[in-house]
Amino acid sequence: MTAKLELQDLAKRFDEVEAVRGLSLSLAGGEFLSLLGPSGCGKSTTLAMIAGFLDPDGGDISIDGRSILDLAPQRRRIGLVFQDYAIFSRLSVRANLAFGLEAQGVPRAERKRRIAAFAEQLHLTHLLDQRGANLNMSEMQAVALARVLITEPELLLLDEPMSNLDAADRADLRGELKQLQKRLDQTVLYVTHDQVEAMSMSDRIAVMRDGLIMQVGSPEEIYRRPANRFVAEFIGDPPINVLPCEVRQSGREIEVSTACHGDIRLGAAEIDAGEHWLAVRPHVFKAGRVPGKGTAPTAVRFVENFGSEHVLHVDYGDRLARVVVPPGFAEGLDTVHIGLDAGAVHLIDRHDELRVDFGPSGAAP
């Protein structure tokens, strides 16, 4: 179902802790939005208030323009799936899927049609007559999702539903869930600390920290134009390098220097001269086995092997920087020569930790 969700100035406090601090957010009908943040950021508290398990201290929650605060949880027409798949282990998969539909009084023929369609979409057809207890973890979670989606709730709330699954199952379920959500035009609020899940499925992501939203935007905006240091560091795997840099005015443009790279021209920007942060994604460094133009030699301290790519941890001034290289590249290598693509770095103000926009540089790179 395609319902709009609106959160207005939502607040919740537990004793001394302000869990959610004036959170405002709207989801368009059919939108998939993820609340992404570390544990303790307030994302699950927000979800619990929408579901009706917690009463907010302030603010309003409305679906399609009507406040739902006075409605009991079971009357909110909200579907919920948690990390621990809640399915009836003694019932067959078919009976699990039928359960919510029977409660809604959906006629038998329509029930049959929907069960067949959902089972097919989530690859559960061959399991329909199995009991819940006989399923493996990823099948259980697919059933848990299907039995909620099939009731076509106005809003679907998902709280870390894939945490217990293996990597390969997670990758499969991400695609299946997203395609199903799109086809049903189902409004989804998805809570996770896993940025891969948020990036891969969301229309928009709201990054949260300490009860506040740091940034709301499409996955691409969040990745390419992080609002601040926290977002830059939270999004991206392996994590972005945040390196001290010295900013100088050079005519109308600025130049920055780091421990390893000097005089990087960044175009016009509003920032005071002095010490700030340069944030560089590990994929943006270019590593070479021999020196090149603008490269700096640096010692390889250790290598993380991820199979399809390796991450070098190299000396960068008094700290380590991560550099992504293809497998086999660093075999037996003590020193690499790293270059920097000035077009793909972020400048972060040391005082307020906000990312600073800079115009295109006039100088040839």
Partner: protein, 363 residues
């Protein structure tokens, strides 16, 4: 020198075989990782080594000494569980010092050792505080500190990072590796997370249904998987396995499917291609596809992209290639940025070939 030797270790609970003929040698100072899905037998393995479970068959040898019949306390191994269990009424210092005190070390040595461990784990600021004031990551650091404070022959860790946030996990993973290197501590690490296993280990053992499917360096496990399970479990997205028929064309053995045709990879163990079954699976890692917006000699195969997962630093394309459904990884600014027709090739040429009956790869 071998620190831990397992010989044909087996354990069953009623009808369930938890460990089935598990055999391996862990070298001194090695970081050895056992990776597998839930219920693979990982925790049973650790508990059996620690002596919490008694093995039904097989032998456990620690530094040349058969400990199979010994009590847990006499085995000189330490075990850290997934769930953080700090003593709530003891300070960070006392938590780390716990095993040193029970070992009866003099106070000056205890203090020196705690300081050393705390500095390594960056928990100096937590020594005077109580656990309830620690964040999740801090609790786990202190718990790790407690486990490593007293050096043991073998440190065993059961999913120590699993309950932590993704970000803290990445951070701790790296520090863990550094720490292990600096201390030269032999580690047996159990996880369901193949990223942890790949990035931390000197060697990895893939455990499934109580059996070691393969033991090898991360490179061996990734580039020379033994069977279907290992190929699909290690690497994200997992390896694509596409069925094809073996045909001989111009005396050149070729694999033919509706979406592609490729030369049969060179197989060392094979004397003649004639002995191969007529239907096989070709394995292609997602990053081994070449993808183009137009047909070219490098991308000759017509496919259909039906779903794109944009992950920031890369994008994953879900596509149909003939009868096969595949996942291919491309750069985020790739020319194919929309669902629809696309063209595919291989780079390098496919080098994995799997028997569909045994589900084992030809090496």
């Amino acid at each position: 020198m071998t620190v831990l030797g397992l010989r044909g270790l087996s354990k069953r609970f009623d009808d369930v075989v938890a460990l089935d003929d598990v055999t391996c040698d862990i070298d001194d100072g090695e970081f050895f990782c056992v990776v597998g899905p839930t219920n693979a037998g990982k925790s049973t393995l650790l508990k059996t080594i620690a002596g919490i479970h008694r093995a039904d068959a097989g032998q456990i040898v620690i530094r040349g000494r058969d400990v199979t019949a010994l009590q847990p306390k006499d085995r000189k191994v330490s075990l850290l569980f997934q769930n953080i269990a700090l003593f709530p009424t003891l300070s960070g210092f006392e938590n780390i010092a716990f095993s040193l005190r029970t070992a009866g070390l003099p106070e000056t040595e205890v203090a020196a050792r705690v300081q050393e461990v705390a500095a390594l784990l960056k928990v100096d600021h937590l020594l005077e505080r109580l656990p309830k004031t620690f964040s999740g990551g801090e609790q786990q650091r202190v718990a790790i500190g407690r486990a490593i404070a007293r050096t043991s022959d073998l440190l065993m860790l059961d999913e120590p990072l699993t309950n932590l946030d993704a970000r803290i996990r990445i951070e701790l993973r790296i520090e863990f590796k550094k720490l292990q290197r600096e201390l030269g501590q032999s580690v047996l690490y159990v996880t369901h997370d193949q990223v942890e296993a790949m990035s931390l280990s000197d060697r990895v053992a893939v455990l499934h249904e109580g059996r070691f499917q393969q033991i090898g360096t991360p490179d061996e496990i990734y580039h020379r998987p033994a069977n279907r399970f290992v190929a699909r479990f290690i690497g994200t997205p997992p390896m694509n396995l596409m069925e094809a028929d073996l045909e001989s064309q111009d005396d050149q053995p070729t694999l033919v499917a509706s979406g592609f045709r490729v030369a049969v990879p060179t197989i060392k163990s094979l004397s003649s291609y004639a002995s191969l079954p007529k239907r096989l699976a070709v394995g292609v890692r997602p990053e081994e596809f070449r993808v183009g917006a137009a047909q070219s000699t490098e991308t000759p195969l017509a496919g259909e992209v039906f779903w794109i997962e944009r992950l920031g630093s890369k994008s994953v394309l879900d596509a149909r290639l003939g009868e096969a459904t595949i996942k291919a990884v491309v750069a985020p600014d790739h020319a194919v940025s929309q669902e629809g027709p696309a063209w595919f090739g291989f780079d390098p040429e496919p080098r994995y070939l799997m028997d569909l009956q045994s589900e084992e790869f030809f090496q």
